[in-house]
């Protein structure tokens, strides 16, 4: 893996980033703080997506569906059967009687979603590349309908309203501050976990599978195990992000995590740079702020329709694919190192196969 910056410089950048994140609340309004909380939530989701698609090469268009599962898990655990019935709905007997503290639901949501992700990963082994993308797209499109149908479990189309969030255990922290730190602490922990996974044996196995499954098998790597693991872990990340999101918004319904979000998540991770953990922060910032600034560009004092967001997003993604395929993360490399001569002209030899199919 090419390193654009020396380890010392990397450490410095990381320390700086941590400092910025910790001190940010002092310098921004509450509204902005909410936006940066979303950045943290997206950061978690995108870490998971990058693991699956960037490092393991399995393309998924259903990441938002896993966020939905995490979000609903957290919501149901927070409400419990009693809370559910308070909303005027008949609750499923699967739910526990009493709700629990929001903060505890986050790891549980992650775990539940992770297990479901592993279960999904198993049949996914039969599918590759585009077929997998199609299958995940299909799941993503179907999930809202399924959620609406099983009202006893999900509150149907009306969704679930959660009690307003506040710092637990009687800590004297304002809600926005609490949510911000909650999201970023999760993000920090999960970043470290991702970093350890990626640079270790697991990450090497993932990359080996991505770059050539047959070759990986002959080196003793079992694709079944590692691909399923990648699915499970990325789903767990999405589940945590979904739980954080539901807690932040205090509401969840089948349309909270639509297909378009899955597509935007993928777009963001590509813009930030596939298989680059540091690029994920760019992706998260883009996901939160690009639609806002596309709709109301700051200097121009113009106001566009809210659809301007997706248009700019899509065009940005297209331009990135055409011009800067490595995403934002690859730009850092270009700035800090001279451009090396790329392999010369002259294509690979046309094989026998080119002409005799």
């Amino acid at each position: 893996m090419r390193r654009a910056l020396t380890p010392a410089l990397q450490g410095l950048v990381l320390a700086g980033a941590v400092l910025v994140i910790v001190l940010l609340p002092r310098f921004t309004s509450e509204f902005r703080l909410g936006q940066f909380t979303y950045v943290g939530i997206y950061f978690v989701a995108l870490l998971g997506l990058n693991i699956l698609t960037g490092y393991n090469g399995q393309i998924t268009l259903g990441h938002a569906a896993f966020m939905a599962i995490g979000g609903y898990t957290a919501a149901l655990l927070i409400l419990g059967r009693s809370g559910f019935e308070l909303l005027g709905q008949q609750a499923s007997h699967v739910l526990p009687q009493h709700g629990m503290r929001a903060i505890f639901t986050i790891p549980i949501a992650g775990l539940v979603t992770g297990v479901i992700g592993c279960l999904f990963g198993i049949p996914a082994l039969r599918l590759a590349g585009v077929s997998l993308a199609l299958a995940t797209l299909a799941v993503s499109v179907s999930l809202p309908a399924v959620a609406k149908r099983f009202e006893h479990l999900t509150g149907g189309g009306g969704g679930l309203s959660l009690p307003l969030p506040h710092a637990p255990f009687g800590w004297h922290v304002s809600s926005p501050h609490w949510l911000y730190y909650e999201a970023w602490v999760c993000a920090g922990i999960l970043f470290v976990v991702a970093w350890l996974l990626v640079r270790g044996r697991v990450g090497r196995a993932w990359r080996a599978i991505r770059d050539g499954e047959v070759a990986a098998v002959s080196s003793g790597v079992s694709p079944a195990v590692y691909k399923t693991l990648a699915f499970g872990i990325s789903a767990a990340y999405a589940g945590v992000a979904g739980a954080l999101f539901a807690i932040q918004v205090s509401y969840i319904n089948p349309d909270t995590f639509p297909v378009t979000l899955s597509l935007l998540l993928l777009a963001s991770v590509v813009i930030g740079g596939l298989s680059s953990l540091s690029g994920v922060i760019v992706g998260a910032l883009v996901l939160e702020f690009l639609p806002i600034y596309a709709q109301a560009p700051p200097i121009l004092h113009l106001q566009f329709a809210k659809e301007a967001g997706p248009v700019v997003f899509g065009i940005t993604l297209i331009l990135i694919v055409l011009l800067i395929p490595g995403g934002a993360a690859s730009l850092v490399g270009r700035i800090t190192r001279p451009v090396t001569n790329r392999a010369k002209s002259g294509s690979a030899p046309p094989s026998h196969d080119d002409f005799a199919r």
């Binding site: 002259g346 294509s347 690979a348 030899p349 002409f355």
Partner: protein, 237 residues
């Protein structure tokens, strides 16, 4: 006889690997010229440089004009038919549809109407089996079809890449007999790449021997047959 095709100092590479280190040869109008050499000598690459399927530097002049670089379709339109290694048939299309594609370069319908009878004269069985899927033909039949398809386009120069590959000796004999007949009757100019030096020298008037991407030996076929190096390395005696 005028020069139809001339290569001057042609170099070609596949990525970082240089395959041709400056090849120069000529093919005169109405000649059959053979390009011999061992595996990896650069024979196929030379044909590819002419047809534009591999990028090259150096000059390639056809009918007095520089050929279009890197545009195989333009080269085909200029009148060079390249039957590649492996024949390049459309295996999922029928015999007739393959022939139609051969005529595409000059305007499918008119050309096919005019040229098909001639091709059927040399390969009568093609007409009987016109609806058969090309991929189900035997190796020899496929080679004949590939040749027929190239002829339908009324080429000025026919380039054959290893036509004998994988074929039984009797089939190879028949194939080259037809090539010689075409050359004698219609004045078709042929550049043939072959590993089977014996049968190639039998059909061709002149030959070049390539070694490691360069012309090592050249001359007319009789000369080459007597040449000791050629005899030992390529003719086996």
């Amino acid at each position: 006889m005028s020069t139809l095709l001339e290569l001057r100092g042609v170099e070609a590479r596949y990525g970082p690997i240089k395959a041709l280190h400056g090849v120069s040869l000529t093919v005169a109008d109405g000649e059959i010229v053979a390009l011999l050499g061992a595996n990896g000598a650069g024979k196929t690459t030379t044909l590819r440089a002419v047809s534009g399927t591999v990028r090259h530097t150096g000059e390639i002049v056809f009918e007095g004009k520089q050929i279009a670089r890197g545009k195989p379709d333009a080269v085909a339109r200029a009148g060079i038919a390249h039957v590649p290694e492996g024949r390049g048939l459309f295996t999922q299309l029928s015999v007739w549809e393959n022939l139609r594609m051969g005529a595409y370069v000059r305007g499918e319908r008119r050309t096919l109407r005019a040229e098909a009878p001639r091709v059927f004269k040399y390969f009568p069985w093609l007409e009987r089996r016109r609806d058969q899927q090309a991929g189900t033909l035997s190796g020899g039949e496929q080679q004949m079809l590939a040749l027929g398809r190239a002829l339908v386009g009324r080429p000025r120069l026919l380039m054959l890449d290893e036509p004998s590959l994988g074929l039984a000796p009797t089939v190879v004999q028949e194939l080259f007999r037809i090539v010689k007949e075409l050359n004698a009757d219609d004045g078709l100019t042929v550049l043939v790449v072959e590993q089977n030096a014996n049968v190639a020298l039998d059909a061709a008037a002149r030959a070049y021997v390539l070694e490691v991407g360069q012309v090592a030996i050249e001359g007319d076929s009789a000369e080459l047959r007597r040449h000791e190096g050629v005899r030992k390395s390529y003719l086996g005696y």
